[in-house]
């Protein structure tokens, strides 16, 4: 047997102290018995009642002392919180799932109850209880008083994130003790996600507080792709589970109901709808499944702002193939007013008023055929990667161009006050080089201008718990967002460039199914209901009643 409140030494010392204190009180206590006499005259003279309250007289009423000492001992033992002794030395970890899967229908309340029962059942000194929401937090450390658990759980609510119990389980399984054993786990909540390396001898059990027969109605995926034909439009794909008809969900753009049509298709997880031709004007698209209050029943997606970029073209360079490409690109709007332009296309010395510029420069003016000037937001590797990948320069057959022209076709980067993209004027000479005839030429010009304009990258989707996806390579601009940016919960998140995008709780981003060792039955875990406290209190009550009846029967003073 273990004592949960204090060590055995403290228990016995307290017991001895209790008995001693009761002994002293017993000696000092005088219990009078009522008696009528003919006269108290002589007793008044002879009485020495005060001398009876001393510690040096004979000890009286030992039976009464035994009763009170036994009663006090039982209560002291009850206060020591005795529990069954565990001999194995194993560690235990109870994981309480705090994800959106626990929202609604009393699931979290049931999970809290089970967590408290498990904390009571397992060895207190070697069991900890963790809350697994967007972050992992300790609810009850090993050895802590169990009363803290209810207090700390009372303020908890399901968080707008996907379940992470699988990730936490995998991380903690590596924390082995001196004997090389991993903790044994109790997972209370949704089934843990897989996709991680786990020890084969992992010992765990699972309890799902969901009601039997509950059917999930949730958003599986929500994302967009640029429209293949219209620069200023996007196509949106919505996938839902547990929803069979378009009438069961609604969509709005910044609060205004969307009235278009959607192409329906069946998927492995449910149904999907493709919404075509949605204006890419920077609005936020909101989806809501009717009748679902939890975060799983709704999602938001920020549409890119793909309005044409206003470009001022210096008349001196607005000719030939460059002029053709500029006028044919629907994502550009040529303007004759430099003041209203976002970017300009100019020669080497043209004053662009401090605006970003695509410049045609003589070969003698710069070493590289293509030179990317940024304001210091990129390192050299990122700048070259941007130019090659995002601008489409990787589509150029640089070797062929070099052989045919006899030039060294190189790419470089530099730092300056404004963004610029400089290329040799000679590259536009059809007679010398085939650059303008390549498929890359209009792509390079268009994407370079969009980057110069500082457009935000197209974010196809943002799922809570997943890294920010890279922009689409076919029709995006800007630099790739940081790969380590990850929204932990659904809601608005700030990107590295200062803009905010809404993150959605998507079932499709929740990770693969569990691929580790199967869960064991809960009976394989030690403990079970072993609670001495009610028995101790009952026995103390019986003792108290017995003493009371003996006292009333004058068998006990």
């Amino acid at each position: 047997m273990n004592l949960g409140a204090w060590a055995w030494g403290v228990f016995f010392a307290g017991l001895v102290a209790l008995w001693g204190a009761l002994f002293l009180l017993q000696r000092l206590k005088v219990r009078h018995r009522e008696q009528r006499v003919l006269t108290t005259l002589f007793w008044h003279e002879a009485q020495e009642e005060a001398r009876a309250r001393t510690l040096v007289e004979r000890f009286r009423h030992p039976l009464a002392y035994l009763f009170i000492a036994a009663l006090a001992s039982l209560l002291w033992l009850a206060a020591s919180m005795p529990s069954r002794k565990d001999q194995t030395g194993e560690r235990f970890c109870v994981l309480v799932d705090g994800s959106a899967d626990m929202a609604g229908q009393g699931r979290l309340a049931r999970a809290v109850e089970r967590a408290e029962e498990w904390a009571q059942r397992l060895p207190r000194a070697r069991t900890e209880v963790l809350w697994v929401g967007a972050n992992t937090e300790t609810l009850l450390a090993a050895g802590e008083d169990i009363a803290w658990l209810r207090t700390r759980l009372a303020a908890r609510d399901a968080e707008a994130c996907n379940s992470r119990t699988g990730a936490v389980l995998a991380a903690m399984a590596d924390a082995k003790d001196a004997a090389g054993r991993s903790p044994r786990f109790v997972v209370i909540g949704a089934a843990p996600e897989g996709g991680r390396s786990l020890p084969e001898n992992l010992s765990w059990t699972h309890e799902d507080p969901a009601e039997q027969g509950e059917a999930a109605r949730e958003v599986v995926a929500l994302g967009l792709t640029p429209d293949a034909e219209r620069w200023d439009q996007v196509d949106v794909r919505l996938e839902l589970r547990g929803v069979q008809a378009a009438a069961d969900w609604s969509l709005d753009l910044d609060g205004a109901a969307w009235q278009g049509t959607a192409d329906e298709q069946d998927t492995a997880k449910g149904k999907a709808w493709l919404l075509r031709g949605i204006p890419a004007n920077g609005q936020t698209l909101h989806v809501q499944i009717h009748g679902v209050q939890s975060e799983r029943g709704r999602a938001a997606l920020r549409l890119p702002d793909r309005r044409p970029v206003a470009v001022f073209v210096d008349p001196a360079v607005n000719q030939g193939p460059l002029a053709q490409v500029l006028s044919a690109d629907p994502s550009l709007r040529l303007t004759g007013a430099p003041a209203e332009a976002a970017v300009c296309v100019a020669g080497p010395d043209t004053d662009c008023g401090g605006k970003p510029a695509l410049r045609l420069v003589p070969q003698a003016a710069q070493e590289q055929a293509f030179l990317l000037q940024h304001t210091g937001e990129l390192d050299d590797e990122a700048a070259l990667s941007l130019a090659l990948g995002e601008f489409g320069l990787d589509r150029i057959d640089a070797r062929d161009m070099a052989q045919s022209s006899g030039w060294s076709i190189a790419l470089g980067s530099t730092v300056g006050a404004t963004r610029e993209f400089r290329l040799w004027t000679e590259l536009l000479d059809r007679g010398r080089i085939s650059f303008v005839e390549s498929r890359a030429f209009p792509i390079v010009v268009g994407r370079a201008l969009h980057w110069l304009a500082g457009e935000a990258p197209v974010v196809p989707f943002l799922a809570a718990g997943s890294p920010l996806p890279l922009p689409l390579s076919t029709a995006s601009t800007g630099f790739a967002p940081a790969a380590d940016v990850m929204a932990l919960t659904a809601g608005d998140w700030a990107l590295p460039d200062g803009s905010t995008v809404p993150a959605a709780l998507l079932r499709g981003a929740a990770g693969p199914a569990w691929n580790g060792p199967p869960a064991q039955p809960s009976a394989a875990f030690p403990g079970g209901t072993w609670n001495l406290l009610p028995w101790l209190l009952a026995l103390a009550f019986v003792l108290f009643l017995t003493e009371w009846f003996l006292y009333k029967g004058q068998r006990l003073p």
Binding site: V30, R31, H32, R33, E34, Q35, R36, V37, L38, T39, T40, L41, F42, W43, H44, E45, A46, Q47, E48, E49, R51, A52, E57, R60, P557
Partner: protein
């Protein structure tokens, strides 16, 4: 009087709250040997006092045991001229 008056330990033991049946006065008493000795001393002093009062007035003092029949005790007095309790 009663013969047990001088030996209350035959009826009384332990810690008592004695109530005078006439005056209602209360005395808390723990019957220890010392207390009993003091009680008997007080009782003897009272009896001696009664005898002294009777002697001064040239009167007799008759002590009757109220727990025994009175007539035989009186008969003994009349027959023998004295009665001892």
């Amino acid at each position: 009087m009663r013969t047990s008056d001088r030996h209350p330990e035959r009826e009384l033991q332990g810690d008592l709250r004695l109530t005078d049946c006439e005056s209602g006065a209360v005395e808390n008493v723990s019957l220890t040997p010392a207390v009993l000795d003091r009680y008997r001393a007080a009782y003897d002093r009272f009896q001696e006092g009664l005898a002294a009062v009777a002697s001064r007035r040239h009167a007799g003092l008759l002590a009757l045991d109220v727990e025994k029949p009175v007539v035989p005790q009186l008969a003994q007095l009349f027959e023998q001229g004295r009665y001892s309790v």
